[in-house]
Assembly symmetry: C2
Homo-oligomer: 146 residues x 2
DNA sequence: ATTTTTAATGATAATTATTATTAAGTGAAT
DNA sequence: ATTCACTTAATAATAATTATCATTAAAAAT
């Protein structure tokens, strides 16, 4: 069966880009750290563990490229750095974030939840929704226990 | 009756800060441009029209302070700059944004829309919501006409 | 009132995140 | 083999923001 990396390779070549070793290394890091929300710097440091010669700008370019191809989502939580999330396979790529204002942890919600809201917005404001970002800020379950 | 600037003054003094002339000038600019989503640079240029001697750092410091006091919301749409919105008086300060991917315009939705969703999130993920950010990216009604 | 302390400011340097440039490397297609 | 487009690493450049620091204004204490 086709691996995720194969599929990403196809997405790249479909847009006439190549899966170079640097790009592959970057994608692998994203695959291996899917839970986290890595910044470009994070990705760079992780990629460099296995590919010590990669440049930071290459990582930025690769992430930007993957973002354009909708392989990753570039998101911002307000701390000044962009973070990059691999999109989930197929289905709804919609997911939301829970940012804890105590410990800074970022959890994910893998459900849409917004179908109804979107229908209202499209109709009432006459706006064609292509994407959305929903983040809740508050106290995570771990910090509530403390 | 109490003006908004008076109320902000109270919020500052309540936290033992003063409403200095520079801070007041900054707040006035925010009040006079409530529709827009001004960046620090925008605010700086507008403040300087009336208070030519103000420094950029002071504007940044003031905006940061106002953000900590929850007088303004510091938001990011992904274009690399932080923007500062005065919070609405009392009531639900919740509002959402429509960012047009064609022309870059940012419109506001002054309705909550998320009550139901929040109830679900609080219960299912055991997360105490203090705030949220919801942004839709898509095509605004103006660009649809073109 | 005058000193003492504290807070806030303006100017500017430093930092951080990101993007652009450049020169060199690589590989597919002649 | 040679060309040509793509990609890269290194580095420079830029933009946004933050830190530093000497100076000033205000408040508190004498």
């Amino acid at each position: 069966m086709e691996s995720r990396i194969d599929r990403i390779k196809k997405q790249l070549s479909g847009a006439s880009y190549k899966l170079t070793p640097q790009r592959e290394a970057t994608v692998r890091v994203l695959l291996e750290n899917e839970e986290d929300h890595l910044s470009a710097e994070d990705v760079f440091l992780l990629v460099r563990e296995k590919s010590p010669d990669i440049g930071l700008a290459t990582v930025y370019r690769t992430l930007e490229l993957l973002n354009e191809l909708n392989v990753v989502d570039k998101i911002q939580f307000g701390d000044g750095v962009s973070r990059y999330d691999l999109r989930q396979e197929g289905a709804a790529h919609f997911h939301h974030h829970l940012v804890c204002i105590e410990c800074g942890a970022v959890d994910e919600i893998q459900e849409d939840l917004l179908e109804d809201v979107e229908a209202i917005v499209e109709k009432k404001w006459n706006f064609i929704i292509k994407d959305h970002r929903l983040t809740f800020h508050g106290i995570c379950h771990r910090c509530q226990d403390k």
